[in-house]
Amino acid sequence: MSLLTGGMAVLLAMFMFSACSSNDSKTGNNDAANQVYIPPGKHDQFYSFMSGGWSGNVSVYGIPSGRHLYTIPVFSQTPMNGYGYASETKALLNTSSGFVPWGDTHHIQPSKTDGMYDGRWIFVNDRNTPRIARINLKTFRTDETLEIPNTGGQHASPFCSSNTEYLSAASEYSIPLPKPMGNGVDVPISSYKKNFHGMISMVKVNQHNGHMKVDFQIEVPPFDYDLGRFGLGESKNWVFYTDYNSEEAHSLLEVNASQKDKDLVLAINWKKAAAIAHQGKGTVVSTDYDHNIVNPRTRWAKTTVEHKVRVLQPSDIKGAMYFLPGPKSPHGINVSPSGKYISIGGKLSSTVTVYSYNDIQNAIKNHDVTKTVDGIPVLSFKNVEAKQVKKAGLGPLHIEYDGKGYGYNTAFISSEIVKWSLKTGKVVDRHASYYSPGHLTIPGGDTRKPYGKYLIALNKITKDRYLPTGPEMFAGEQLFDISGDRMKLLLDFPVEGEPHNVAELPASLIDTGQVKYFDLSKNHNPYVTRKEKDAKVVRKGNRVDVYMTAIRSHFVPDNIEGIKVGDEVHFHITNLEQEWDIPHGFALKGMQNAGLLIIPGDTRSIVWKPKKIGVYPFYCTDFCSALHQEMQGYVRVSPRNSDVKIKYGTNKDL
């Protein structure tokens, strides 16, 4: 079916539905308020983690209320609390390209046990500078970032296997890789087909502490790997990726990567590939990439530069990697809860293609191979394509499952959510979405047992849905009730950045066992000051370390003299409070850095390089107490050659 006629059929269908249903109004239904109303002081049922897209961070919302609960700093410097500015956190943003203070967060993957979310960690990728972050769900802090080597940019990342054995990262942007491999190569861009390579990275997760490690990589043709999913249940040993640009274009991709009628879907038996890699197949290549981990004792992030990675060629893993012929320029790929079906959104068509895992296995068993592409066998299309969901809207992107036998896909171009039966492939319901939804989620939608009665559509275009805020605005998300036969629009809620992907976890999986503050006696930051009497200012050459304490409502010391122009002053502030939600802040006039927010029991450090003589006030930025305004102090900065000695104190004349 051509795009045009498909679209007309969809429009006709939409018209018919909207004509016969009052529920499909643009403004939701009347009893929706009750369903999303969470009374003051009561909590939501679900945590919703949204990647912020170009915000580089992850925002947390309560569902069904849509209330913004928190933003977790991940790949972007966050002056709000000093993340990426505080000395403890800076290393988390280190890469082989240096300090990269911004990222493009894309896909949220909760850790899993037995194919179900387990509430331990959230993994999220940076599409731009390829890296994966691990967020600790006890503290909602980023505890680790790992750069993915030999990769130009990663979109199909960081998908998570059934028991969090592996995360998979696949390159979107292929890059030239020198032979033998290593860091970077200078070749003409027009030599794309010859010199550029795609890369699938398998990142092993340590089950004890969550630490990530690039276990091995597989070199693949220079297509743009778009999305991926691990299998579930019987298909759990496999991982599947969609890709576009099997044309291998390097310019004007909107045209040149959209020429073929069919693209290829990559399927890898990761278990088999891992076993082969562990036998020592492939080559260990030299390439530098950064691995940044927060030490749980010191809460100080440290960078380790890794130098090696094992790279496999398709010929090394014969029988473990296949291409399936896929729809033209496909986008989302989602495995059904049973693991039996793999659905693909035909981004430039009006269909969702559903593969049967059994058919794929049969085709492999029967060597039903039509050709090979760069040494990778391509399975016959006829025998692996289970069914096509027709009229799945224009531009189907992503699919989620409700665990009751239905799939739901977003349709970007026709701006709607389409519900269809996994069994028959027939569309049973559709609802307009405002506007142009990308990802969507059903709580637990990528687990063995989805448990949500909700669906969230992540809309890419907001326009008139809220009070206007000039030309720039938050993205708009929409919450649907999917407990009945028909979808009901319940709520619009604006979210920061441009959320690409979202995961919803039941509150009970996370809310118990939350860290409320850090135990001061277990704070092993090398610059901790556990008691006011231990506060001190120490000069070593032109480096001055200020060991400072903060407690309601004063700093110790709050008067400091003996600092000189040209010094490098390191403030290390320990919040002595041992109580929930009594952070203290630290801000100093003219400091070309950020302020700090220091959680009770924690120590945070920041560097200040005074350039001019003067007396500089500093103060607490968090309204900690009734005497918060009074929580302030002064630092005196003397000329470079002055002989003013280091002196400090609180409530005494220096």
Binding site: I551, E577, Q578, E579, S625, L627, E630
Partner: protein, 212 residues
């Protein structure tokens, strides 16, 4: 019938005294007193458990939080090590237990009387001391305190509840003191039983002898 035999404590009462004496040791297992504080900002409440030898936070780090808050109104920080009563109270309790046990073992009424009088004295003395500590704590304020409200003192109630600025303070005996109370009640019951009821019996015996 030997009258002097009745001046010793009956077997049943000796068992009761022994139980009552051992019951006193409950103060080493449970707090004596509990002070809880609620405020708008503290839905999870703050509190103190007063033990025979120390003061502990009801929830982790509550003492520090209470001290943080109290310094604004000039109250001295609560330091368990600086309360003298908590230094010798454990010895008093052990002593009382031993005294009671000796009354049970030697079955001497004067030991019983001494035990009860001492125990009552210790209980009343303890309450007075606690009240004094609370009074000092709530009245002796740092004149340089940031928040001064004329006429306001911050003595928590000995028993019951009281609103102190934003804090609703509740003070009640805990299992330790209740055990001591039960122990003393048993002691008083035994004492009455020995000196009143059994004295009557002795009188009856004596008159019976006279008649005889």
């Amino acid at each position: 019938m030997n009258i002097s035999k009745h001046k010793t404590i009956s077997k049943r009462n000796r068992v009761l005294i022994a139980i009552a004496s051992v019951l006193l040791l409950a103060v080493f297992l449970f707090p004596l007193w509990q002070i809880r504080m609620q405020a708008p900002q503290y839905p999870e409440e703050l509190g103190l458990n007063i033990w025979v030898n120390t003061i502990k936070s009801l929830h982790p780090h509550n003492i520090q939080s209470i001290n943080d808050l109290n310094h604004y109104i000039g109250m001295k920080p609560i330091d368990p090590h600086s309360v003298p009563a908590l230094k010798f109270l454990p010895y008093i309790m052990v002593g009382l237990c031993l005294l009671g046990l000796s009354a049970a073992i030697f079955a001497k009424r004067f030991l019983l009387t001494t035990w009860i009088v001492t125990a009552l004295g210790a209980a009343v003395g303890g309450l007075i001391d606690f009240h004094k500590w609370e009074y000092n704590y709530g009245h002796h304020l740092n004149p340089h305190a940031a928040i001064k409200i004329p006429g306001m003192s911050y003595q928590p109630p000995l028993i019951g509840s009281k609103q102190l600025l934003n804090i609703h303070a509740m003070s009640y005996p805990h299992i330790g003191v209740i055990a001591v109370g039960v122990s003393i009640i048993i002691g008083i019951y035994v004492w009455i039983n020995e000196y009143v009821q059994r004295n009557d019996k002795i009188r009856d015996l004596k008159s019976a002898q006279r008649i005889g």
